[in-house]
């Protein structure tokens, strides 16, 4: 008797859950599962191998980390096109800094790691000040700094590779911990922290409010300009992290590295359900978005599709994701 009652209530709960299930609210999750199944079939059996999966995660973690910061910027109503150039710029300067220390010094590696993060944050701060103090539209301001950062690193490197003299440095980017590459751990850690920042802190709440309606925020005594500035600094921080991971992976930086990272970062956020008009988005969505982009590439490679078509598939996924999210609303 009791048993059947419990079963019944469980069944009703389940029915209730799926009865209220709205595709538009879970578009990212559903898309993720479908894509995973598709990739499993297309890439059978190689796709499901642990090595392949960690490889996908490693590949997407560089732009993924930046995408997490980008998510905050987009929610606040802005955009940052300079992140790719910023990453190459920061990575290059960091190696110059590293080479100031002779030999394989551990201290040099630690200091350089901190240097990369601080330097990236400063680049982000510069973008943020252009947008908030300079009142330049984010698209334009960061289009400008995108050129500036790229041009500077090309100038400083003499258009050649910037090589590190420190062999220990390479242990960061190519390191593996508990069978999972270090960049993936960093990606997970940043995602968890920013997820909490967005959902559970005053700052996160205010970022959403400013992005949803700046006037309302202003009339609610929120320091709008400060709230708009900080996401740029955070994104600079994430670009600094990626610069560190990327430059230490091969222990060198090419001045044309990381070109187009901004598009992957934005795509991850958009596929993850972040609204380009601001006010709404999720960090976990961006994680899924980034992984989905990685799965598509991997699937197409395993399926033997021409690499020229990969970009088309990626574009298609972005469009479908946005169609699912926005058109179901009406």
């Amino acid at each position: 008797m009791v048993d059947s009652l419990e079963k019944k209530s469980f069944a009703t709960a389940l029915a209730g859950y799926f009865g209220n299930f709205k595709l538009s609210e879970h578009a990212t999750g559903v898309g993720f599962i479908l894509l995973f199944l598709l990739a499993t079939i297309v890439g059978w059996p190689n796709f499901l191998q642990f090595r392949n999966l960690t490889n996908i995660l490693r590949q997407i973690s560089y732009t993924g980390i930046i995408g997490l910061g980008m998510t905050l910027i987009i929610i606040s109503g802005g955009i940052d096109l300079s992140v790719g150039s910023m990453t190459a710029f920061t990575g290059g300067i960091t190696i110059f800094f590293l080479n100031l220390f002779p030999g394989d010094s551990v201290l040099a590696v630690i200091l350089s790691s901190m240097f990369a993060i601080v330097f990236g944050s400063i680049c982000g701060l510069f973008n943020g000040l252009l947008v908030t103090k300079g009142r330049i539209a984010p698209f334009i301001a960061t289009l400008g700094t995108m050129s500036i950062f790229r041009s500077l690193i090309q100038y400083f490197s003499g258009a050649g590779n910037i090589l590190s003299n420190n062999n220990l440095y390479a242990d960061i980017g190519s390191g593996v911990f508990l069978r999972i590459p270090v960049p993936v751990w960093v990606f997970i850690a940043v995602a968890v922290v920013l997820h909490i920042v967005l959902n559970d802190t005053r700052f996160g709440r205010y970022v959403c409010a400013v992005g949803a309606n700046e006037q309302v925020a202003r009339y609610s005594a929120i320091k709008v300009q400060t709230i708009k500035l900080i996401p740029y600094v955070i994104t600079g921080f994430t670009a600094g992290l990626t610069a560190l991971l990327w430059s230490s992976r091969l222990n060198c930086i090419n001045p044309s590295d990381c070109t187009g990272y901004e598009l992957d970062a934005i795509a991850a956020a958009v596929i993850g359900g972040t609204s380009m008009s601001g006010g709404k988005g999720s960090v976990m969505g961006t994680v899924m978005g980034a992984v989905m982009l990685g799965m598509i590439n991997n699937m197409l490679v395993l399926g033997g599709v021409s690499s020229y078509l990969q970009q088309a598939a990626r574009g298609l996924v972005i469009i479908v994701a946005v169609l699912l999210q926005y058109n179901n609303k009406n």
């Binding site: 909490i196 802190t201 005053r202 709440r205 949803a212 309302v216 202003r218 005594a221």
Partner: protein, 514 residues
């Protein structure tokens, strides 16, 4: 056949436009009640009434923007159906809106021809002809505006000239001007009147919507008074004076129930503002607020009441003047300073400046007081939800779920959530700007009761309202503003519609600035 004519119908004159039995209902609210009005060819007809009397609705029906629920419109004696604004324009009816529909980045002639561009056979724009025609018309109207100037570079008066010119370009025979003088200064006003007389001489019929009685007396031939959606009177301007008109505009029964007023005669001044100046908006504004009182700010739309409190809240740049709270001089540079000093301001623009549409109830309520809910850097969502439940109960907010985005709620419930947000900041001074705009009668009554409840707790309330009965029913003292200044302060039995209207329209009290 000796049927008594309704007041709006003139038996034998040359009638260009007449409306017969025009009624308009929005859902169940009747905003116009069988209006009969006949307008003579070539006259300037004044259309006056309080906010919400039905002036705008009537002109929107005449210009095809709204469809009447019942009634007919006759143009030159023939029944016409005006389905939309472009039909009205084709029939020779044009409107000069209160808010200009001009594009700042286009030139004068491009704006005049916007939507009616002249094209060459090739399909390209015939700029030469358009420029020439626009120039010819501006010349004819003696408007000193160059056709190649950008709208953004023009003064308000010049923009209005362009707007009028745009309306006339379509060979308008009936020109409706919706509150055209609100933004004009003395000299510009003269220019407008000269232009209106000229148009009249050319046989254009003008409907002049206003609530400035002196201007109506100056420029109009006849004047129609609307009140509560009903036609009250049509008179020739020579047969009535400003006071008659003011009385006709007001004088309705108090239909809403207000809680009994409680007078507090404490002399304890909570807020003192002196000689406040905001460029082009406020001139030498001073007032005092006492502890626990409900103070009213009345006046016509655009009198500067909203701007005054935005300035006090640090949302506008104050050029001169001082603010003291509980006797201490304070500087407020940012809304945060104001909140910290115990000030709260509920904006009249609930959608644009008040609620966050896609936030749920708890997030909306704690938006300003959020710091109170932060424990070790993280928001205590349980405490947040509990507080929200508290306000849902106290303010009787009807919600299927607290987790629903606010956009799905009715205006009344949204307003209560908005009110709760500011009450949660624990203010000493609460400013409510049009607190009952766009909400139903029951929610209105509840909000009046909350205001009394808050005042009883010692919170000093300021109510800005364009609905006179609201100010009269709630407040123990009322400041009346006119054109960015305080025209007077009314107390006791002087708080009545007549006194307020006299001050708001400039018949009584402090006269124009300078």
């Amino acid at each position: 056949m000796d049927i008594p004519k309704p007041p709006g119908v003139v038996p034998s004159a040359d009638i260009i436009l007449s409306v017969e039995g025009i009624t308009k209902e929005f859902s169940t609210v009747r905003v116009l009640d069988s209006i009969d009005l006949a307008i003579e060819r070539g006259e300037v007809m004044g259309l006056i009434g309080e906010n919400g009397a039905g002036k705008s609705t009537l002109i929107k029906i005449i210009s095809g923007i709204y469809q009447p629920t019942a009634g007919t419109i006759r143009l030159n004696g023939e029944v016409v159906r005006i389905g939309d604004y472009s039909t009205a324009k084709n029939l020779g009816i044009s409107i000069v809106p209160q808010e200009f529909n001009l594009i700042n980045t286009l030139t004068v002639y491009e704006n005049i021809f916007l939507g009616n561009e002249i094209r060459l056979k090739s399909g390209l724009l015939d700029k030469g002809t358009m420029r020439k025609q626009a120039a010819a018309q501006l010349q004819e109207l003696r408007m000193p505006v160059k056709v190649d100037r950008l709208i953004g570079d023009l003064s308000v008066a010049e923009k209005q000239m362009v707007e009028i010119s745009k309306a006339l370009m379509l060979h308008a025979r009936i020109l409706i001007m919706d509150e055209p003088t609100t933004t004009l200064t003395g000299h510009e006003l003269e220019t407008l009147f000269t232009l209106m007389r000229q148009l009249k001489a050319q046989g254009v019929t003008i409907i002049f919507v206003s609530h400035k009685l002196r201007e109506v007396k100056t420029i109009c031939d006849r004047v129609t008074v609307l009140r509560d959606g009903k036609l009250i009177s049509v008179d020739t301007v020579d047969s009535v004076d400003e006071k008659d008109l003011a009385r006709k505009m007001i004088g309705r029964d108090f239909t809403q129930v207000f809680p009994a007023k409680k007078y507090r005669d404490g002399t304890d001044v909570v807020l003192q503002v002196e000689h406040l100046e905001v460029r082009n908006l406020l001139h030498d504004v001073s007032f005092t607020l006492r502890r626990g009182e409900i103070l009213g700010f009345a006046g016509l739309v655009g009198a500067g009441r909203t701007e005054l409190f935005e300035a006090v809240m640090g949302l506008r740049h104050v050029e001169r003047g001082s603010i003291a709270i509980e006797g201490k001089a304070v500087r407020i540079r940012h809304a945060r300073d104001a909140v910290d000093l115990g000030l709260a301001y509920i904006s009249e623009d609930r959608q644009g400046k008040g609620i966050v549409q896609n936030f749920d109830i708890p997030k909306n309520i704690t938006l300003i007081s959020l710091v109170e809910y932060v424990k070790r850097h993280l928001i205590d969502k349980q405490a947040e939800g509990k507080k929200a439940s508290h306000y849902v109960k106290v303010f009787n907010i009807v919600a299927a779920s607290q987790k629903m985005a606010l956009r799905y709620f009715s205006g009344g419930n949204q307003q209560k959530v908005y009110l709760a947000r500011w009450v949660d900041t624990d203010p000493k001074i609460l400013v409510l700007d049009e607190p009952t705009r766009g909400i139903d009668v029951n929610a209105k009554r509840e909000i009046y009761e909350f205001i009394h409840m808050l005042a009883a707790k010692g919170i000093s309330c300021i109510v800005i309202s364009s609905e006179m009965e609201e100010v009269i029913g709630l407040c123990s003292r009322v400041y009346v503003m006119k054109e960015g200044m305080v025209a007077g302060c009314l107390t006791d039995e002087h708080i009545n519609e007549e006194e307020i209207m006299f001050h708001a329209t400039g018949i009584k009290g402090r006269k124009a600035y300078g």
